[in-house]
Symmetry: C2
Subunit: 327 residues, 2 copies
């Protein structure tokens, strides 16, 4: 949550003049994104009405060779009528430009607010929107491997070390070791694959009332097992209170919404418990690594790895019953 | 530059419903303000058009007993057609409300961008706008003493200690001591007083082209010598490169713009060199205190006290010649 780079009005006006969007009217640095700086930009627009955009400056973490995938995906999904912001191309047609040695992209602004605690109707909408991008991505020509997939989890565990994991919680080293072994033996093969969002937490969904108005932040998007994305979204949306309280009605609504657009096959449904354990493992491990690498007194908020250790334990304990329809 | 408090969409929607501004459409935490959290809020508006606001949450530093002064001042100046954002009052007429135990105010959004390096025409506009608030504040009923006026500077110097000042720069202890003595002996008396902004740096001015579209962040506003505000603005706007390069054409344009609305008296003009030394002292001392209290590795950017030590030396050296009209 930061703006890492100062961009003066003069820099911004010069940048905006490279696009056919009118003249700069307002620019506010916004507190979103952990590896990007973002500005909410207003311009006079190209017609009678003002227009708004998000200007993103890619500060680190993102491999720039992957930007065409991320930005091209937005364009593809928006053209397929998914609620996804379009990339605005400059007058020469480029999807991103260079400013101060860093890549910047101008992205459509979408209305809507992020929900902290969803209602079932909202979870249903999220399921529909997620299924929509899975179907719409079929025609997208580019591909990107999931660098936070199963192979990465044991690498992350090694990087954390047993001692490091134990410092977070004494139970963590054995939980991680046991679960890595289980997942290696049970990770499903042969399931349908597609582009997946891979990080569809509530703060990456904009809503107006019960409707999804925007899916944003596709910087973890990749090609992987389609149903794994539903499992990630399930783990991200259906728990209260840092993973302590499962909300069955939210899980049910999410899956029902998803299946109203893209019904799951028998094999996909059967794999959900394992996929959800994998999803919990993925966020537990990246959070554990961040936790061990962030000083406790840093101003950046560390996200608690144990919130996903609890979800992992829940999915391991409940199995398929975590995914049955709730009356 | 931060958002210190998380406010979920549900909290925000509930808050917005207390105002007659339509329904919440969008909310982005913005990276502005060092002692407040701010959100750029969009609503459906009360008529046909959407509306935008800044929601400010007062986190610390501001004495809440002073909020009625700050918010009332905005209303007063806006009613006098100064380019100042109005305070939006809730349905019961209150200028601020309580949320999570903290005071929050909804403030009109103004277009415009902050300029890093002004042109003369822009400085002229700033001078006119500053004079405008000085004249318009005459009818404002409330008052607030300047708690960062001359009496505070020696208190700040004591708090920094000689050793602390020397850690910033070896020349600082004697510069501060000599200058405090000079200012105590030469601070002008009997000059006109009014409400002053007292912190009109470029980031507190919004511009559209050469015109001022907004003066913002009145949280240092107080009653003090009117011409001191012009001296503060001069010190804030007329130097390049961290106080190294004086820009005479900007100083000239600022004063000419100011006098086109409110001509300075002979005594006010004569006092400008001393007032500017006081202005440089004020920012040097508050920055020195922040510097000594902020760890070098903190994520918060420390502002260099020496940038104002250089301005102080400049004003002491040049005297009245710093304020003569530039051809």
């Amino acid at each position: 949550m930061a703006v890492y780079t100062h961009l003066g009005a003069e820099d911004l006006a010069a940048l905006i003049s490279e696009y056919d969007v009118g003249e700069l009217v307002s620019a506010k640095g916004i507190a979103e994104g952990v590896s990007n700086s973002n500005w909410l930009i207003e311009t006079t627009g190209s017609g009678n009405e003002g227009a708004r955009f998000i200007l993103t400056m890619y500060e680190r973490r993102i491999d720039l060779a992957e930007l065409p995938f991320f930005l091209g995906l937005l364009d593809h999904l928006a053209a397929e009528h998914c609620p996804v912001p379009r990339t605005i191309h400059d007058r020469s047609g480029a999807a991103f430009r260079w400013l101060d040695g860093k890549a910047v992209a101008l992205i459509e602004f979408l209305p809507g607010v992020s929900i902290d605690r969803p209602e079932a109707e909202q979870a249903h909408s999220v399921g529909r929107a997620l299924a929509g991008i899975h179907l719409a991505s079929a025609g997208f020509a580019m591909a990107r491997p999931n660098d936070l997939g199963p192979a990465s989890w044991s690498r992350l565990a090694e990087a954390c070390t047993q001692e490091g994991l134990a410092r977070i919680d004494p139970s963590l080293p054995s939980l991680v070791a046991d679960e890595l072994e289980f997942l290696a033996g049970h990770w499903p093969e042969g399931l349908p694959r597609s582009v997946i969002h891979a990080d569809l937490f509530p703060d990456n969904v904009l809503m107006l009332g019960a409707e999804v108005s925007g899916l944003i932040d596709f910087y973890f998007a990749c090609n992987d097992i389609t149903a794994y994305d539903l499992a990630v979204t399930h783990a991200a949306w259906c728990f209260d209170n840092e993973g302590r309280g499962f909300r069955p009605e939210i899980g049910s609504a999410l899956i029902a919404g998803y299946e109203s657009v893209r019904p799951l096959s028998h094999d996909e449904r059967a794999a959900l418990p394992v996929l959800a354990r994998g999803a919990a493992m993925r966020f537990m491990m990246t959070r554990a690594e961040d936790w061990l690498n962030t000083p406790a007194d840093a101003l950046v908020t560390r996200k608690d790895p144990l919130a996903f250790a609890r979800r992992l334990a829940f999915y391991a304990d409940r199995g398929a019953s975590a995914f049955v329809a709730h009356p």
